[in-house]
Amino acid sequence: MAANLSDQKAARFEDLYRETYEPVVAYCRRRARSHHEAEEVVSTTFLVAWRRFDDFASAELPLAWLYAVAYRSLSNQRRGWGRRSALKKRLQIEGTGSVQSPDREAEARLEASRAFEALATLSNYDQEIIRLAAFEDLAYEAIGVVVGKSVDAVRSDIFRARQRLRRAFDGGGSGS
């Protein structure tokens, strides 16, 4: 019976793992300084999910639950990171993948670079909720799960964070 339960747990975990592996890897890569660091956070995140399997499996939004774990793990490592240079570097390396004329492409890259620089001037919390909405494409409810806030609070926070982002983008200074 014990073995049965253990097998069931492993099978259920594997299902959830397969469903969430790719978005979790992408989430970590968007925020980590390097692929190596992203891999560490991915490993830690799923190890925590396995250790707290009951919480993970019963979560209403398992992916958001994993993002929350990764978010905490990354937050612990984030102090002192040179976010701006890392993001700019990655942007240069990976680009957008779109096909445009050389002039338009250069302009778009410059514009994107400015947007990322503006983002980097915001608080870690503001950056996180903007990324969750912009890149992970999460709804307010899921963002609330990640950052531990209510839907209404998240809605309001994102509104304000976007205003600060706009100011930083327009003025080139801190939006906080």
Partner: protein, 240 residues
């Protein structure tokens, strides 16, 4: 013309190229899954597992940038594929006394691996190749160009035979040591492993231990072996 909303610009510029993210069925994903779900158990079973690469898992955890395998250097497991395709079903088996493509005989005999072109229970001819991670990958084929067609290096039967038995034995010891369900202090682990290496005999003469300092978020020791540089790394990992 008014400038675009920077939020919309960000939305259009995901810094991650999703086509470069490993699939949830990739070797990396499989290895991590196995490492996680075999915590506290021996990661190697005599019965072939779907995938069971403890070393690859440790590799993924912490050492990916430190270790470069260029030949058959990882003797902890052999990957047996069901077809000449790196995405096909596969079984990982532990080699016995020698490193050989024949390690893949039992998964075929037992019907763990099947292929429409091979009778159930029959053992096909094998071609051995070497992955970038230094793992022996065995495919059901008699075609000498199989490895080249997959972008892998060919494997020479007999490579590492003299040392593989001692290596397997030491790796068994290490896996057991680190799977005992406790958080091993890095310094104590370095001392214990030093003793294991010296007791392992000639096969590990000249090996050195490189211990990386623990941190508050990574207080426990794990290990990774780099055969090409005769180095055993002690690597701090999070407490599990």
């Amino acid at each position: 013309m008014p400038e675009r909303d920077p939020y919309e610009i960000l939305r259009d510029n995901d810094p991650v190229d999703l086509t470069r993210v490993a699939s949830s069925r990739s070797l990396e994903a499989d290895a991590l899954l196995t490492m996680i779900t075999t915590q506290g158990k021996s990661p190697w079973s005599r019965r072939p597992l779907r995938i069971a690469l403890a070393v690859a898992a440790v590799f993924l955890l912490v050492a990916a940038t430190w270790i470069v395998y260029r030949s058959v250097t990882n003797v902890q497991g052999v990957l047996c594929y069901s077809t000449v395709d790196l995405d096909s079903d596969r079984a990982a088996v532990r080699p016995e006394d020698t490193l050989s493509t024949q390690a893949c005989t039992s998964p075929w005999e037992e019907g763990v691996l099947t292929n429409p072109n091979v009778e159930q229970g029959e053992v096909p001819p094998f071609v051995g190749c070497v992955t970038e991670e230094g793992i022996l990958a065995v495919f059901p084929s008699a075609n000498a160009s199989t490895c080249a067609s997959l972008g892998l290096a060919p494997f020479e039967e007999g490579t590492l035979e003299s040392d593989s038995s001692a290596a397997i034995e030491l790796q068994d010891q290490l896996v057991k040591y680190f799977s005992a369900g406790q958080c091993r202090d890095v310094d104590i682990a370095a001392a214990d492993i030093g003793r294991m290496l010296s007791e392992a005999g000639d096969a590990f003469e000249g090996w050195r231990i490189e211990a990386h300092a623990a941190t508050s978020s990574r207080p426990c020791a794990s290990f990774s072996m780099d055969y090409s540089n005769s180095t055993l790394y002690i690597i701090p990992i999070p407490e599990l």
